[in-house]
Structure formats: C-alpha cells, structure tokens
Point group: C2
Chain length 213, copies 2
DNA sequence: ATGGGTCTGTGCTTGATTGCACAAATGGGA
DNA sequence: TCCCATTTGTGCAATCAAGCACAGACCCAT
C-alpha cells in the first residue's frame, strides 16, 4: 500500500524529475529504441537507477521485471501523470525581444503547450504579429483569459512590471506562471497559483562559484 | 567552528540559493533600501528566515544582531563568494533564433557575464552580426576559447548537435556550460565541468501536474 | 521444461536538509 | 543609564530524500 497510485502526497521534488524523464524518453524514441531500463536512464541522466524506479513506482508499476520499461508506454503514462497528454493554451505577456523569441520558439507545441495570445503595454507593438499572433493591449488580458479558459501564462516583461502583471493574471484566473523576468514574484495570497522561474544568470552564477580564478 | 568560512564542503543546494538572495538584494537596493533582515528576505522569497541565516552563516557573519544586514555589504560579499565580482567572458554557440535572442539580451552584463564570441555551423550565418559580435565558424571554437581564456559557454543549437558541441567545448577548456537545448548532456568523463539547463517546457510540465482539468 | 541472467518494486538504512528555539548582541527611547 | 524590542548565529531535533540490497518476476536459450 505504500505506493498507492492514487496517493496525492507525492513530493514536489519527484514531480520535478518526471519532465526530465519524459524528455529522455522522447530522445530514446527518436533514437529508435523501444525498451529501456532504470539503469540506462540513470546512466544517461546522472541519477541512480534506484531513484528512477522509486519515483516511477509512486504512480504504479510501469515496468516489467527482467525486461525494463516499454518506452512508448512509459511516455504515455508520464504524460498522463503530468497532464501533458493534452494541449494547454498559454498566454504570453510581453512582446519585446524576449517575448518575440518565446513567441517564435517552436519547441512548445509538441510538448503540450500552445501560445494562444500575446499582450504588450506599448501601443507601438499592439497589432504587430509575433509567431503568427496579433499583439493585444494589456487591457484585454482579463477578458481574453477568461473567455478562452486559459490557466497558464508566461511573463516576459521588464522586472519592474512583473509583479503588477502577475496580479492581473491571477485575478484573471491564471493558475500557473512561468516568469522570465529576473525578479521574485509574490503570489502568497493565493495558494493555488504556481510559479516557476527562468533566469539564466542564476544558473551561470551558480556555476562560477566552483570555477578557479 | 562549525561555520568555518573557509570550509569548502558547502552543500550545492545552498550555493544554488545564493544567486536568488543576490537578485533579491539588487531589487531592495533599487527600491532604495539600505538595510534588511533575514525575516524580510524570507518573506519576499517564500523561504524561512532560519534557512537564510544558516545559508549565509556558511560564509561568515555578515549581519548584525538587532539590526540585520547592510544590503550593499551583503551584496558585495555574496558577489565575492559566487565570484561574480568580476566579469566572465562567455562563448555562445548557435546563432539561430534562440542564439540571437540570447546574444541581444541585455541582462547579462550587469550581473557578471559578457558574451565574448558567437559561433554557428551554418555558412550563411557566418559573418552576420548578433548583439554587436560577428558570427564565427565552428572550426574556430577551440582556438578562440583557448586564446581568450574563456571558461563559460552557452549552447543554443538544436538538440541533436548539443552533445557534439559539448565535447568540442570541453576539449577546448570550457568548465561551465549553460545548455538551452532540450536534451541531457553527458559530461561524466570530466568531473570538473559543470552543466546547468534552461528548458522552459520542463517548468511548465512541472506545474500542469497540479492543475485541474 | 528448466536454469541462468536480468531487472523491477520496495523495506530499511543512511544521509542530507530544514526548522525550532534560544543565548548573545545591538540600538533606541525613556 | 537602563530596559525593551529586535535580530543574528547556531545546537539540536525533526523531517525529508537518496541509496542499498534483495525477493520475486520475467525472458531466453538450451
């Protein structure tokens, strides 16, 4: 009973590894593999095989003793667990250089996400086209998000506007925010809103600690 | 003695939080503050104050009882610890959409990093200008990196070429890699090479797990 | 049909990380 | 001057995460 698949007390750190496993499985599929093992996955990812088995066992037994895991089946199951077996509409806020890059990035579509609308505060940018979408004014954020039932957003505005944008988004019903602005967002008022961060400098600074001179 | 500042057995997870603290301190400075406390920082970052105090205490006593931390002083000390009190030259590999966005991003310079050169395999892109730099051919990676003493690189090439690029970089003497390609890199042959990843989809997938329908 | 090699799922141990709680230090106001 | 409110740095306890190691299951070759 320790690994009841319906158990919803799964550590967040485990959830965080599942997308990594999924990415590695995509890769194996592209390489033409059909079966893999916790040992092979672990070697590729630099993670112990025991950890991979234990992580996966939280959601049920997806493998077969003596054989390993059917890649296609495991991918399907992980997509179900992560709820990326569907396509999520995403709102993009900010149509500057960064917003343009995100809007034109081709890597979202086949992994469960579709940029559905884009907003900017600058009147000169409104009406322009980014990744096939027309830039809308900020005033339309709430109505658009509500009408289209969007739950996921990405913030690509300057740091000083990110908190205000966050509050607009949360009020509009957004439940998951990926923040590209180099600033911490306060969503402590809402315990059902999730925030993740993209800040390349954080990662670089983390590595320079270990470098010599 | 438990918190000997010269101790180099500091957990990686602690190092990973220091850039977050530094970013929050930058922000406080911009807001005109001069002094802060572990409690205030913790509230802003959603971290317990005890953890912040303990993390900082690994490197010495930077605060004053009853008062808190002088922001400018703590920023300086954290920059020293992370070695971002200097400017690191960074090689950028890949001059496609993503490489262009990175090359034009203004957020690196004032946080310790300077893109010093950019490379691409596509002959049509060679000689073009990205962020004020001329795109060089891949064949020049090793000589350029060696001559200029570059230790940090960012990979912005398609996933299928990322591993080969990694090996070229490591052979050229690169010690820290920030990988934007959605694939895991194998650097297990070299234990002095650090890798960090930027993959927005990973963060999105991690959040959708918690969303309803 | 059977034996040997392989691999999963998991109980238990070990190790790492976080949080509590308090002594000591500080500064400002009465 | 002295007291009170505040805040740091840290020993200790509690919680959380990772890894070992093995029973049971599976496949394949003979």
């Amino acid at each position: 009973m320790a690994s009841n698949p319906a158990n919803n007390n799964i550590p967040d750190i485990v959830i965080g590894r599942l997308p990594v496993y999924l990415r590695a499985l995509n890769r194996l599929t592209q390489e033409g593999e059909e079966v893999t093992s916790s040992h092979e996955l672990g070697r590729r990812l630099g993670i112990s095989s025991a950890q991979i088995r234990k992580d996966l066992s939280h959601f049920g037994g997806f493998g077969k003793q003596g054989t390993g895991y059917q890649i296609a089946y495991l991918e399907e199951k992980l997509r179900q667990v992560l709820q990326v077996d569907r396509e999520w509409k995403v709102a993009l806020i900010g149509a500057g250089d960064l917003g343009n890059a995100i809007g034109n990035y081709r890597g979202f579509t086949d992994r469960g996400f579709h940029i559905a609308c884009i907003f900017d505060a600058d009147e000169e940018k409104i009406g322009a086209t980014v990744g096939g979408l027309t830039v809308q004014p900020m005033a339309e954020i709430e109505s658009t998000i509500r009408e289209r039932g969007i739950q996921v957003a990405m913030i690509a505005v300057p740091a000083e506007h990110a908190q205000a944008v966050t509050e607009t988004l949360v009020d509009a019903g957004i439940k998951a925010i990926l923040n590209y602005a180099p600033i911490n967002l306060d969503v402590s008022k809402r315990d059902d809103v999730h925030v993740q961060y993209i800040d390349p400098v954080l990662h670089l600074q983390r590595m320079t600690y270990y470098l010599k001179g």
